[in-house]
């Protein structure tokens, strides 16, 4: 356990002195595995094998689609349209960001894809309208984990199958918490910005004129508006899997950007492609080394030992639930969300069954906790990714992030833990669970 703490400390120090997050994880992982006497020869191959899984394939495609939308003028028109509707409400753009993240996470099932696609469009736009850059970054990072709560979500599938519970019920269990969290973030965004004089808000217009604006921007955004419709339509009608839908989005965005909105030339198409590959590379580097760190921790059975140590503290059902929350948060901090779901199912589900807690309720607890772990430092891949998109160093967005987490996600964790009805209502209603 000492070695574990030392390794984590090294990772934090390395991150603080601006060593790329990916390499900080990698160095910490190799040091930890080496000093604990584990076989380090398969660490890198494990990272390679996990990274070359099909599940991650949506990431490069959604990043590509997002950049093409930005370059070709599609996002600009979409945002102008949205702005004509909510632009006159202070904090309206932030609320749009949260809702877009939720919607995007819903379809792609991936937090990183949501940051890639939504963050790179919304953060610059928010900054341009006077939002503090740190606030904008934190908002995108925190709402990206809604992807985990609103189905489909790959970590929830992994948890359900590993834990032998119904995937459908587990999906349904996180919907209400997901919607509540979406609304909570919308509200917090407006609340945090209430006294900020920099936010530009257009003066209110008479209804007729406002409606005219909506129609006008909507008309010029017709091809842009088709894009989310195509993505959502293709997925929900079953024409394409989310990964294929991302490819459809790319193939659609190229001619629209080149010939219809003319925001892009052939040479800038090349530059955008290279940019997309580079951005994918910098994100995959973090995931690659995070997989390696996960493995180093799991080889040494760190998550299991942590659990056993903490669970000896009490026998009270609610104390144990609280402790499991703390542990899930810790696990979310040190491993990736897929490994986290496997570990949650293997380590905690037996305890949960013994305590007489509903496994579907627990699925929701796991979902909200792993989501929190993804954005809570030190190992907060989604947080750093948002920072990468907004070009900010950690100190600039850490405070707003902690504010969002303390007033938004953390209370939601407790709510889900201690109010089982939140997670069980939909499974009971729709599946007679």
């Amino acid at each position: 356990m000492t070695l574990f703490l030392i390794s984590m400390l090294i990772v934090i120090v390395l991150i603080l002195i601006e060593i790329p997050v990916a390499f900080a994880f990698g160095i910490g992982a190799v040091l930890f595995a080496f000093t604990t006497g584990n076989n380090i020869s398969f660490l890198i191959p494990h990272g390679f094998k996990t990274a070359s899984g099909f599940a991650l394939l949506a990431l490069p495609l959604f990043i590509f689609a997002g950049l093409l939308m930005a370059e070709g003028g599609i996002s600009e028109r979409l945002l102008n349209f949205v702005n004509s509707i909510v632009g006159r409400i202070k904090g309206g753009l932030g609320a749009v960001t949260v809702l877009t993240c939720a919607l995007f996470g819903a379809i792609s099932g991936s937090s990183s894809a949501a940051i890639a696609a939504v963050g790179q469009i919304m953060i610059p736009r928010m900054v341009r309208e006077g939002y503090p850059a740190g606030h904008a970054t934190a908002l995108v990072a925190c709402s990206s984990v809604l992807a985990l709560l609103i189905p489909p979500s790959i970590p929830m599938i992994v948890f359900s199958i590993t834990g032998g519970v119904s995937v459908g019920a587990a999906f349904l269990s996180t919907i209400i918490p997901g919607i509540l969290l979406t609304l909570l973030y919308c509200g917090l965004n407006i609340w945090f910005l209430r006294n900020n004089p920099d936010i530009q808000v257009d003066p209110p217009l008479p209804f007729k004129q406002a409606a005219k604006g909506v129609v006008k921007t909507g008309y010029s955004a017709a091809f842009a508006l088709l894009m989310p419709l195509i993505i959502l339509g293709a997925i929900y009608s079953g024409i394409a899997t989310p990964t294929e839908a991302a490819a459809i989005a790319v193939i659609y965005a190229i001619p629209v950007g080149l010939f219809i909105y003319k925001g892009m030339s052939l040479s800038s198409l090349g530059a955008v492609t290279i940019r997309a590959v580079t951005m994918t590379g910098s994100i995959m580097a973090v995931l690659f080394f995070l997989f390696i760190m996960s493995r180093a921790m799991i080889l040494e059975q760190v998550p299991r030992d942590l659990a056993q140590a903490l669970l000896q503290i009490s026998e009270n059902k609610y104390v144990i639930l609280l402790l499991i929350n703390v542990l899930l948060l810790l696990i979310g901090m040190i491993v990736d969300d897929i490994s986290g779901s496997v570990l949650a199912a293997i380590i905690f589900l037996p305890i949960i069954n013994e305590l007489g807690i509903d496994p579907i309720h627990f699925a929701a607890v796991v979902g909200v906790n792993l989501g929190l772990g993804n954005v809570s430092p030190p190992c907060a891949p989604m947080l750093y990714m948002a920072g990468g998109v907004s070009k900010l160093s950690l100190d600039r967005y850490i405070t707003p992030t902690l504010k969002f987490l303390c007033f938004g996600h953390l209370p939601m964790v407790f709510l889900v833990t201690f109010v089982p009805e939140l997670s069980l209502f939909l499974p009971k209603l729709l599946m007679g669970y």
Partner: protein, 220 residues
């Protein structure tokens, strides 16, 4: 569709650089980062090396272009083949992952060249002296280079073993080495570009120290 004037100054996404000081986004300037490739050559050797790097870079960029566009086209055609031709392509998973791993590792290497790896950090806010910032960044670059060498060693060991055993993929029956070679290339790029970055930073430190010394002498 009418061509309307967009509301804000417009910068191409392809040229946007992450982690470089951007007055549009950030109010307080930080010391600019040094990249792996210097802006201009200082010696004759430099310019030869830089020309060689330009050739390499052209190759990497072409491969990135092919892999990126190729993946989109491949996944798209899978949908078409399923619905229009009703004949799926057996190797779709293998082929798409082949392109994906090349995207990942070329991207990692190129991100090193462009200094675009995701990083946190507060050095430039706590430490105000640009020379000390330079020292810390130099230590960082050298650490990354050594780490990349170690990771690269294990990556090569694994990839070469796959090549050596002549393992074939299940569906396409292509050598597995095609996949794992992406790792060799990616780590080679990372080691190389971290090395160049280290050299660049070392030179910057030497220049700064000399400048300070001569300034001190002038004051005496």
């Amino acid at each position: 569709m009418q061509q309307e004037k967009l509301s804000a100054p417009y910068k191409s996404v392809g040229e946007a650089k992450i982690y470089d000081y951007d007055p549009d986004l950030s109010a307080h300037p930080i010391p600019p980062h040094l990249h792996a490739i210097p802006n201009q050559a200082n010696h004759k050797v430099d310019s030869v090396l830089m020309r060689f790097e330009r050739l390499l870079n052209w190759t990497f960029r072409s491969m990135m272009l092919l892999a990126g566009l190729g993946l989109a086209v491949l996944m798209f055609s899978q949908v078409i083949m399923r619905y229009v031709l009703e004949s799926p392509f057996t190797g779709i998973e293998e082929a798409s992952i082949l392109l994906a791993v090349w995207i990942y590792f070329l991207g990692m290497g190129y991100a090193t060249r462009e200094r675009e790896h995701i990083h946190g950090g507060i050095v430039s806010l706590i430490v105000k002296d640009p020379y000390k910032v330079g020292v810390i960044r130099f230590i960082g670059s050298i650490t990354c280079m050594i780490a990349a060498i170690i990771f690269g060693y294990f990556a090569c060991k694994y990839a070469l073993k796959e090549l050596d055993r002549g393992r074939l993929s299940v569906n396409l029956r292509w050598p597995r080495g095609l996949w794992s070679a992406s790792m060799i290339v990616g780590f080679a790029m990372m080691v190389g570009y971290f090395l160049l970055e280290t050299i660049n930073e070392f030179r910057y430190l030497r220049r700064t120290r000399r400048a300070r010394q001569s300034q001190q002498q002038a004051e005496v």
